[in-house]
């Protein structure tokens, strides 16, 4: 299967992530959806890297994974904070500031 197939797969995965981010009501569910988006990025990078000389694509993917890890760590900390404040982690609980 050629590059196109992998790219379309990644696009579909990214779209799934988008769907999850805007529809999941639990903050951790949202985080998981962001993970899907990040995973689509890695798939893209690795698929592309087969067509370019040099390790850049895979290095990029490694960086991307590490960035995502850092983000999840921080996200979970913030979710715990929300839980401590509201007793629940439904994302719409954090909607007191508006207008």
């Amino acid at each position: 299967m050629g590059l196109t197939g992998y790219l379309l797969l990644a696009a579909a995965l990214f779209s799934l992530g988008v769907f999850g981010v805007v529809t999941r009501r639990n903050a951790i569910g949202v985080l998981a959806s962001v993970e899907l988006m990040a995973n689509a990025v890695n798939l893209n990078l690795v698929a592309f890297s087969r067509h370019h000389a040099g390790p850049t694509g895979q290095v990029f993917a490694l960086f991307s994974i590490a960035l995502t890890v850092a983000e999840v760590v921080v996200g979970l900390a913030l979710v715990l904070l929300l839980f401590r404040a509201k007793g629940d982690v439904r994302i719409e609980l954090a909607s007191e500031l508006k207008d």
């Binding site: 197939g5 990214f14 999941r24 899907l36 490694l62 999840v72 401590r84 629940d88």
Partner: protein, 195 residues
């Protein structure tokens, strides 16, 4: 259909099927587990793309580390509700579907209308990967290590219930979180506070 093609379709369907479960599954523990399945299948795809080192990293770091962390998060925060997420209202789901479909349409249209590189090259070795990391991208690598350090420091400070040296800490048990509010449509399946 060649073997490679069959492999691709199997992996693709597995990834997308598991991904669908991640965004729709109501039980949060299941969500995280399905995420693990997605990531593991992506690792398989990496292998098919001749990126074995990355596949290993994917399994070890993501599936091993991140998912454990997320599972902890689920356990800590949703034990009162039996790990069950509240379902989104229908219109929200519909709007999300439209958005996701639009993303898919735009990206795939762009992919299909772009001439893509054809020639394949041999996959870089793990040594080449390491060398690139520490020469070309060493500055980014150092910055990344600082980023991880800051994330850890920050996360610990934020997530810690009471601060070291905070006089309030000595005054007895930590304040318990408020009981979850019973919002409209919220389903409570879990056992009532079992502490």
């Amino acid at each position: 259909m060649s073997g490679e093609q069959v492999g691709f379709w199997v992996v693709a369907l597995a990834i997308l099927g598991a991904g669908r479960q991640v965004v729709t599954s109501r039980n949060l523990v299941h969500t995280v587990l399905w995420l693990a399945v997605t990531l593991a299948n992506t690792a398989v795809a990496f292998v098919m793309l001749e990126a074995t080192f990355l596949a290993a990293v994917q399994v070890l770091l993501y599936t091993g580390g991140v998912l454990t962390l997320m599972l902890f998060g689920v356990m800590l925060t949703t034990r009162d509700t039996g790990f069950v997420d509240v379902r989104s209202p229908l219109h929200r789901g519909f709007a999300g579907g439209v958005l996701a479909a639009a993303v898919m349409a735009l990206v795939s249209a762009s992919i299909l209308r772009t001439p893509l590189p054809e020639a394949r090259v041999t996959a870089p070795t793990t040594e080449a990967l390491g060398a690139s990391f520490l020469t070309e991208h060493v500055l980014a690598f150092e910055a990344l290590s600082l980023l991880l350090l800051s994330a850890v420091i920050g996360a610990v400070v934020i997530a810690r219930r009471r601060d070291a040296g905070d006089p309030r800490e000595e005054r007895g048990p930590a304040i318990r979180p408020r009981a979850p509010r019973a919002a409209g449509g919220a389903v409570r399946l879990g056992a009532p506070e079992a502490e």
